[in-house]
C-alpha cells in the first residue's frame, strides 16, 4: 500500500532514446553492464520509497565493492550528477527519493555479513544486509542485533544507520545510534574514511555519532561495525485491552511511574486493531478502544515481578482484560500483527500517510484527543499504531490518493499534528527522518542559528551538496547546494 503524491509527478518518464548512451557505457565500464539500470521502465522502480514523494533517477547502479562506490562517486562528481544511496527503499520520509534526479547507488549487491565476532560482541556488515538477517545469523549463538524496525524483514543496515532507526524493542536498549560503533564512509568527493571501531570511546570527535541519523546527506556508508547483544533468558508478552483510549494512555504513564522499563510498550487504537485483525488474525479484539502490547524480558525472577506490576497497573486503569501470551506461537502472532500494521491499512483504505511525531510520554492521551479532533476537522480517518513507551506516535491518516483535494487535507492535517507535538515539547520525527517530507517543518524545532551550524557540518562532508540534495534542510536553506543535473537527457 503506497500512497503517492498525485500532483508531484516531478519527472515524466522520457522516451528511452533520450538517454545519453555514452554516459551509460561509461558507468557500465566502471561497475559492469549488469549493474547499471537506465531504461525508463527500470528506473520507475526507484522513484519512490515508503513515503508519498516520488522522483525519477537518471540511472541506478549496484556496486559490489567500496572501490566501485568510489569510482561511481568520482564519475558523478566529474559529470556533475547528484548521487544518492538507497537501501531497501522502505524509508518513510522520502530519504531515498532522488529529488533532482541523478545517480542512485543501490546496495543490493553489498549484503555480506563480513565478520561475526562473538567474543567481542561485534559484527561487521555491508550496508545492504537486511536488518533481520543479521539477528538471524547470530541467534543460534544466543545473540541479536537490538534495533528492530517493524520493516526489519526488508530494510537494510545502511538505511537504518542513515535514519537512526528505532523499533518496538528500542525502548529499553536504545536505537540504532546506540548500537553502531564504526563506519566506513565514502564522501561525495571520493574520499574514504573509517570512523570509530570495534572498541568504545574512539579518541577525537565522534564522527560515527554524527553520521548515524544524517539521512544519507553526509556520506555513503559502505560498512558498519555494530554491537551484538546477548538474548535474554526469558520473555513475557502481555496484551492489555481497554475500553477507553485515555485509560490505555494513563497506563503507559503508570508503568513508568512504577519504575518499570519494559523491552517494548506499543499501543494500537480501534481503527488500527480492525485493520490489523483483518490482515493478520492475531486475536486482537476489534471492539476495544485501544490495546497495549507490552513485553518484558530478562531473568525469570525480574520478569515475574514486572509482569505482576504491569498487570496491576493495567487493572488500576480499568483494563478490560490482561492477557499473557501462553506460547511462543501466540507471542509471534501478536508481534506479526503489530509489525505488519502499516501494511494492514490496505484492508481499510486505499492509501495512508504516516506521521512520526514525538511527545513527552506523559502527554499521550491529550495528544491522541487532539489527533482525533484534527481528523474530524479535516474529515479524515486516522488510525494510531505507535511506540507508546517512548512517546513516538504514528498517526496513520487514511485517504485515497486519486482524490487530490483529500490529499491536500491529509498534508495539512499531518502538519497540524506535528506542530502540536512540537508545541508540547516534542519533535517532528522520532525515527523516520526529516527527509524531503518534513524539511519545511524544521524551523518549528530549530532556529536559524541551529540550522546554520548543521549546514556548516554538512558542508564539511558534502561540500557542494551533491549527495542526497534537498533533504532535511528547509528549501530556503540549501546550505551550499549546487545545481546539479536534473535530468540525464537535459545535460547533453
Amino acid at each position: 500500500m503506497r500512497a503517492r503524491r498525485g500532483q508531484s509527478q516531478l519527472h515524466k518518464v522520457e522516451s528511452g532514446d533520450d538517454l545519453d548512451s555514452r554516459r551509460v557505457s561509461e558507468l557500465k565500464n566502471i561497475i559492469g553492464s549488469q549493474a547499471v539500470l537506465h531504461a525508463p521502465e527500470d528506473l520507475m522502480l526507484y522513484e519512490y520509497d515508503g513515503s508519498v514523494d516520488r522522483a525519477l533517477p537518471d540511472a541506478v547502479v549496484f556496486p559490489s565493492t567500496t572501490e566501485e562506490v568510489v569510482s561511481t562517486v568520482c564519475w558523478a562528481r566529474e559529470k556533475n550528477f547528484a548521487i544518492l544511496a538507497r537501501g531497501a527503499g522502505t524509508g518513510l520520509s522520502g530519504g531515498s527519493v532522488p529529488v533532482n534526479g541523478g545517480v542512485v547507488i543501490g546496495f543490493s549487491r553489498m549484503k555480506k555479513i563480513v565478520e561475526i565476532d562473538l567474543a567481542n560482541q561485534r559484527a561487521v556488515v555491508q550496508p545492504g544486509v537486511v536488518n533481520l538477517d543479521l539477528s538471524l545469523a547470530v541467534a543460534k549463538s544466543g545473540y541479536y542485533y537490538v534495533p528492530d524496525p517493524s520493516s526489519q524483514k526488508a530494510c537494510t543496515i545502511g538505511g537504518n544507520v542513515a535514519e537512526n532507526s528505532g523499533g518496538p524493542h528500542t525502548l529499553a536498549y536504545g536505537v540504532t545510534t546506540n548500537h553502531v560503533l564504526g563506519l566506513e564512509v565514502v564522501l561525495p568527493d571520493g574520499e574514504v574514511i573509517h570512523t570509530g571501531g570495534k572498541p568504545l570511546d574512539c579518541p577525537g570527535y565522534d564522527l560515527t555519532g554524527l553520521i548515524v541519523g544524517s539521512e544519507g546527506t553526509l556520506g555513503i556508508v559502505t560498512q558498519a561495525i555494530v554491537k551484538l547483544t546477548r538474548l535474554p533468558e526469558a520473555v513475557q508478552t502481555i496484551l492489555a485491552i481497554f475500553n477507553s483510549v485515555d485509560d490505555a494512555a494513563d497506563t503507559v504513564a503508570e508503568i513508568t511511574a512504577r519504575a518499570i522499563t519494559p523491552a517494548a510498550l506499543e499501543m494500537m487504537d480501534q481503527l488500527a486493531l480492525q485493520a490489523v485483525e483483518a490482515a493478520t488474525h492475531a486475536g486482537y479484539p476489534c471492539d476495544a478502544a485501544a490495546v497495549l502490547l507490552i513485553e518484558v524480558e530478562g531473568l525469570r525472577e525480574a520478569i515475574e515481578v514486572q509482569t505482576e506490576e504491569i498487570r496491576d497497573a493495567c487493572k488500576h486503569h480499568a483494563a478490560r482484560e490482561v492477557r499473557v501470551a501462553q506460547s511462543e506461537v501466540e507471542r509471534q502472532l501478536l508481534w506479526a500483527g503489530r509489525k505488519n500494521a502499516f501494511g494492514a491499512m490496505g484492508r481499510i483504505a486505499k492509501s495512508f500517510y504516516v506521521q512520526d511525531g514525538v511527545i513527552p510520554r506523559t502527554r499521550i492521551s491529550e495528544t491522541l484527543r487532539f489527533i482525533g479532533q484534527v481528523g474530524e476537522k479535516y474529515d479524515l480517518r486516522i488510525a494510531n499504531v505507535f511506540h507508546a513507551g517512548d512517546g513516538n506516535l504514528h498517526p496513520l491518516i487514511l485517504f485515497d490518493i486519486r482524490d487530490h483535494e483529500q490529499y491536500r487535507r491529509v498534508l495539512q492535517a499531518g502538519a497540524e499534528i506535528l506542530a502540536y507535538c512540537v508545541s508540547i515539547g516534542g519533535s517532528i520525527t522520532g525515527e523516520h527522518g526529516v527527509g524531503m517530507e518534513k524539511s519545511d517543518l524544521m524551523p518549528l524545532l530549530f532556529t536559524e542559528n541551529d540550522l546554520t551550524i548543521m549546514g556548516k557540518l554538512k558542508s564539511v562532508f558534502n561540500r557542494d551538496g551533491r549527495l542526497n540534495p534537498s533533504k532535511i534542510f528547509p528549501t530556503s536553506k540549501g546550505c551550499g547546494e549546487i545545481q546539479v543535473g536534473k535530468q540525464w537527457a537535459a545535460r547533453t
Partner: protein, 453 residues
C-alpha cells in the same frame, strides 16, 4: 592584583559583573594549570553573558578555555596560550525535571552530585558514575571529557543518555541540537560531536538527559583470581550468560590497596560484579555467578551489601583522583580495546611498569573494554619521566595492535612532551575540517584534544 591594561578586559567586567571576573588567576595552579596563566577567569551567570563574552573574545583574538569546577584541568593535552578561562560553575541548576517522563534538563555547570541528589528524591538517577563526582565534577565537564564509569556496561555512557544540548560556538552563537524527548531524529546529532570534544567545538550551556529508576535492590559479588587469564575466562563466561551484571570491573591487588578495599587485596586480580534489580533476581545472580565460574580458577568469593558495597564502588569510581594524590608523577593511561584484548593490556601494563621500576594499579571495565592504568614511581623522589613515557608507549602500541586505542589522560607536562606522535586514523582530516568549520580561528581550547585538533 595585576593592573588591568586592556579595554577588552575591562569590558569583561561590564558583561559579567565585578564579582565574576578574576584577573589574578593564580588559583588555577592549585587545580593543576600547567601553561602560562590566562589574563582572566570569568564565570558568566547567563547564556547571554556567555555569548557576549565569546563575541568579545573573538574581537580581542583571545584563546578561550572553557571549564566547569576545575576538577580535570590537567586531563588531556596542554593548551597553548590561553587568554581567558570561562567557568560555567554559575550556570548551575535544574531547568526542567519531569520524573514521569524520565527526562531532566540541567545547566552545564551543575554538579553531577547535586543533580543525582535531586533525582534520588524521586527514586531516579543519572547513572554516570564518573570520577571526580565527589570533588565537584560538573555536567559540562563530564560531557566534554566523555567520562564514564562502571555502570556503562548496562546504561552506556554520556552519548547514550544525552538527548539534547544547547551550546555556544566560538563566535558567540547560541545553538542547540536534539531536544527534550527521548526519541528524536530531527537534524544532525551535534550532541554526539560535543561529547568528548574537550570543549574544542563549543561550550555546552545545558543538556537534557534520559534518567532511570533506582534499582530496588543491589548486591556485589567479589571473585578473586590468581591470574588475569583466569579472570578473563570467568568474565567471558559471565558475559556469555544471561546473568550479565550491571557492572563488571577487574581490579588488580595494587588498585585494591590504593582504594583501601581489603576484600580485593588478597588475590592478584578480582572481578567485581554489581547486580541490580528486584530482590529475588539479585539473590539468584549472586548465588549463580560463583557457580558459573567455578572451573575458571576462582580462588575466593564474597558478597557485599549495603554500606560496604557502596564504599567499594565509590572507591572504584574515584580511583583516578586517589591515584593522582598518591604522587605528583601519577600518569593515567586509558585503554579502549575489544573485550578479548583487556587481559593483554592489563598484563602488558603490569610488565612494562615492572620493567621500568614503576608502580601500576589497574581498574578495567571488563565488560566494556575500558582499561585505566594508574602509573607512578616505585620510589619516592624518583624522577622517571622518560620511563613513564616509555611505559605509556608500550601500552598504546599494545592497544593499537589489536584495533584499539590508548590515550594518556593524566600525566605531567614533562611526560607529555616526551610522548610520541599520535597515530591518527584516515578520518582525522575530517575532524580537522569539523573543527575549522565551527571554530575557524582556533579560539576554543587549542591543543587540548587528542591529536592537537
Amino acid at each position: 592584583m595585576r593592573v588591568i591594561q586592556s579595554a577588552g578586559l575591562r569590558e569583561l567586567y561590564d558583561i559579567a559583573g565585578s564579582e565574576h571576573v578574576i584577573y589574578d588567576a593564580e588559583f588555577l595552579r592549585q587545580h593543576g594549570w600547567e601553561g602560562e596563566l590566562p589574563k582572566a577567569c570569568v564565570t558568566p551567570s547567563t547564556e547571554e553573558q556567555l555569548c557576549e563574552i565569546m563575541r568579545l573574545a573573538q574581537a580581542e583574538k583571545w584563546k578561550v578555555a572553557p571549564a566547569g569546577n576545575f576538577t580535570k584541568v590537567r586531563l588531556g593535552g596542554v593548551t597553548e596560550g590561553i587568554d581567558l578561562v570561562i567557568s560555567l560553575r554559575c550556570l548551575n541548576g535544574i531547568i526542567e525535571y519531569q520524573p514521569a517522563d524520565l527526562t531532566v534538563t540541567v545547566e552545564a555547570g551543575t554538579r553531577l552530585s547535586a543533580l543525582n541528589a535531586a533525582l534520588a528524591k524521586e527514586r531516579q538517577m543519572l547513572p554516570l558514575d564518573v570520577p571526580f563526582t565527589a570533588t565537584g565534577a560538573t555536567i559540562g565537564g563530564v560531557m566534554a571529557t566523555n567520562s564514564s564509569g562502571p555502570r556503562r556496561l548496562s546504561y552506556g555512557s554520556v552519548r547514550d543518555m544525552a538527548i539534547g544540548a544547547r551550546f555556544v560556538t566560538a563566535d558567540g552563537t547560541l545553538a542547540k541540537s536534539g531536544g527534550k524527548v527521548v526519541k528524536n531524529v530531527a537534524g544532525y546529532d551535534i550532541v554526539k560531536l560535543l561529547i568528548g570534544s574537550y570543549g574544542t567545538l563549543g561550550i555546552v550551556t545545558s543538556a537534557t538527559f534520559k534518567v532511570f529508576p533506582l534499582p530496588p535492590a543491589t548486591a556485589t559479588v567479589v571473585m578473586g583470581f590468581a591470574t588475569v587469564v583466569d579472570a578473563m575466562k570467568a568474565r567471558d563466561r559471565i558475559l556469555n550468560s544471561p546473568l550479565i551484571p550491571q557492572s563488571l570491573d577487574l581490579v588488580d591487588a595494587a588498585a585494591a590497596e590504593l582504594m583501601g578495599q581489603g576484600i580485593a587485596t588478597e588475590s592478584a586480580y578480582s572481578l567485581l560484579a554489581a547486580v541490580a534489580g528486584p530482590p529475588l533476581m539479585v539473590e539468584r545472580v549472586c548465588r549463580e555467578l560463583p557457580e558459573l565460574v567455578r572451573f575458571d580458577g576462582v580462588r575466593s568469593v564474597s558478597e557485599l551489601n549495603g554500606e560496604a558495597e557502596r564504599t567499594l564502588w565509590n572507591a572504584v569510581q574515584e580511583i583516578t583522583p586517589l591515584a593522582l594524590e598518591r604522587s605528583r608523577q601519577t600518569t593515567v593511561v586509558k585503554g579502549s580495546v575489544v573485550l578479548s584484548n583487556v587481559g593483554n593490556i592489563v598484563a602488558r601494563a603490569r610488565d612494562a611498569a615492572a620493567q621500568h621500576e614503576l608502580q601500576v594499579a589497574t581498574v578495567a571495565r571488563a565488560g566494556s573494554g575500558t582499561v585505566y592504568c594508574h602509573i607512578w614511581p616505585a620510589r619516592d623522589g624518583d624522577a622517571p619521566a622518560e620511563r613513564i613515557a616509555n611505559t605509556c608507549e608500550i601500552i598504546v602500541r599494545e592497544a593499537e595492535q589489536h584495533g584499539g586505542w590508548a590515550t594518556i589522560e593524566w600525566t605531567t607536562a614533562e611526560v607529555k612532551s616526551r610522548l610520541p606522535q599520535w597515530n591518527v586514523g584516515d578520518d582525522f582530516a575530517v575532524m580537522q575540517r569539523v573543527k575549522h568549520e565551527l571554530d575557524p580561528e582556533g579560539v576554543l581550547n587549542p591543543g587540548r584534544l587528542f591529536g592537537k585538533i
